[in-house]
């Protein structure tokens, strides 16, 4: 028997729809953005840490939280990475345009890190420690998801 040809079978693009619940705290976060263009975090009564986006539990203390804390849309870059390689975004099935900058931002008043896009892709013009401000979508275009924040831009004097 001659060596068979080694075949593969491709599934073609498969769409698997999901509809995830956001929960009470998350829903509040998006409401505040739409109504007042500000962020809301939540403080743990036991360790006192403020985390954003708000969530029901402080995982470290295993305590329910309910003290909402309103935060300005500004913060500091703690880490970032300029992404050069293209890949298919599983949420849309479309390739994400590159380069773009994935950033970790400590919002003023929060103890944890908020991740989003920073609109600077020149590695000479972005550094850990720089100040950033959130830029929002037009209110009537907001959909109640994380893209209602378009990106963070670096505050340059």
């Amino acid at each position: 028997m001659s060596t068979p040809e080694l075949l593969t079978i491709t599934s073609s693009d498969v769409g698997a729809p999901y509809e995830w619940s956001i929960g009470i705290y998350g829903s509040k976060f998006f409401q505040e953005i739409r109504e007042r263009q500000r962020f809301v975090g939540i403080r743990c009564p036991q360790c006192g840490k403020v985390r954003v986006p708000p969530r029901r539990l402080c995982g470290v203390c295993f305590r329910e939280m309910d003290e909402l804390v309103y935060l300005p849309p500004t913060g500091t870059i703690t880490a970032f990475s300029i992404v050069n390689y293209p890949f298919i975004d599983p949420a849309t099935g479309i390739e994400r345009p590159v380069p773009y900058t994935y950033g970790y931002i400590q919002l003023d008043g929060a103890d944890n890190i908020f991740s989003h896009i920073i609109n600077e892709t020149d590695e000479n013009k972005i550094k850990v420690g720089m100040r950033v401000r959130a830029v929002f979508k037009d209110v009537n275009e907001m959909e109640g998801n994380i893209q209602d924040i378009r990106y963070f831009e670096i505050e340059r004097d």
């Binding site: 079978i9 619940s21 295993f62």
Partner: protein
Amino acid sequence: MEKIAIVGTAQTKYERRKKDQTYYDMVYEVTTAALSDAGLTLADIDNVITVSNDFFDGRTISSMAVGEAAGAHDKNISTVEGDGTFGAFYGAMRVWGGYRSTLVVAHSKGSEGNSKFISNAMFDPIYHRPLGLDAISSAALQANAYMTRYGITEEQCALVSVKNHGNAKKNPYAQLPLDLTVDDVMRSPKIADPLKRLDCSPVSDGAAAIIIGNEEIVRKAKSKPVWIKGVAHCAEEYFLGDRDLANPKALRDAAQRAYLMAGIVNPRNEIDVAEIYDAFSYMEPLWLEGLGMCEPGAGGVLTESGATGMHGDLPVNPSGGVLSAHAVLVAGLARLIESSLQVRGEAGSHQIDGVKTALAHGINGACGQSHCVWILGAE
């Protein structure tokens, strides 16, 4: 091996859609409720096993969504992807293996994904997936094989649906308590011959948790301990065509080993109540045969006799079973919880009198390819 017991249990109400809750919310709810049920605190929990499925959750590493909510921030943790009965077995092995206690928590939201797509993904991508096989169509094949082999009738299967939905009226957690007649079942829309809508379990959202503890934890807990007397699991072949779908041999093997471990010689007489995985009505008699509760082929007659009703000598699924609430992965853990409540005498209006030994059962894979059988006891 030392004696270990289930010392805490909790379930959410099973619903078609829990829109206001995330997995995290549901897991937190049952974690705290199970701790409260046991009279223990998080410090008494040595380790956590979560049970979740990436396809249901729409994310790879589905366990990431809930670790914190299960109190595992600074604890040893692992995740079983499969029915809760298997996850609970791993949790039990970790207690036998040295931990004082394990919290096992399972979650799923059937409402958030497409169940047909998700169950189609169980099938072999090369040969079977493109045919569109899913949980329901494959179950229909098994039902046909079973009914053709032994002459089990659709009416006999309908009796299971009538019984279980009726039992669900006494279970506050159940999603579908219904007053049905055989006629109602027979007239319900045909989904995949011979399965009609009322022969099929619903799509559900829910979560459940149990706490397993060694004797030190049992002494500390306030609950009546439900001792783990026997547990075993077994899988048979994968391709449906390689299997005899009317002969649940993997179940038979698992049941025999569980009985051996528990010292049960005559299960039909010695088991006081059974909570088994009736994802479809035909599965109840088929699994009862595999469990040795009757001869092969006699499952239909056993159901007709009334023996498996609330007042029979082997009540099956007094909780309403999976036909009344089916949060995938959670449903097997729910069977374990319901049997535990029976042993404790805490099953409320669906309590069976004088339960000393209970059986719980869960399945993995299409048409019950893999089974896990538990024997629980009051002593």
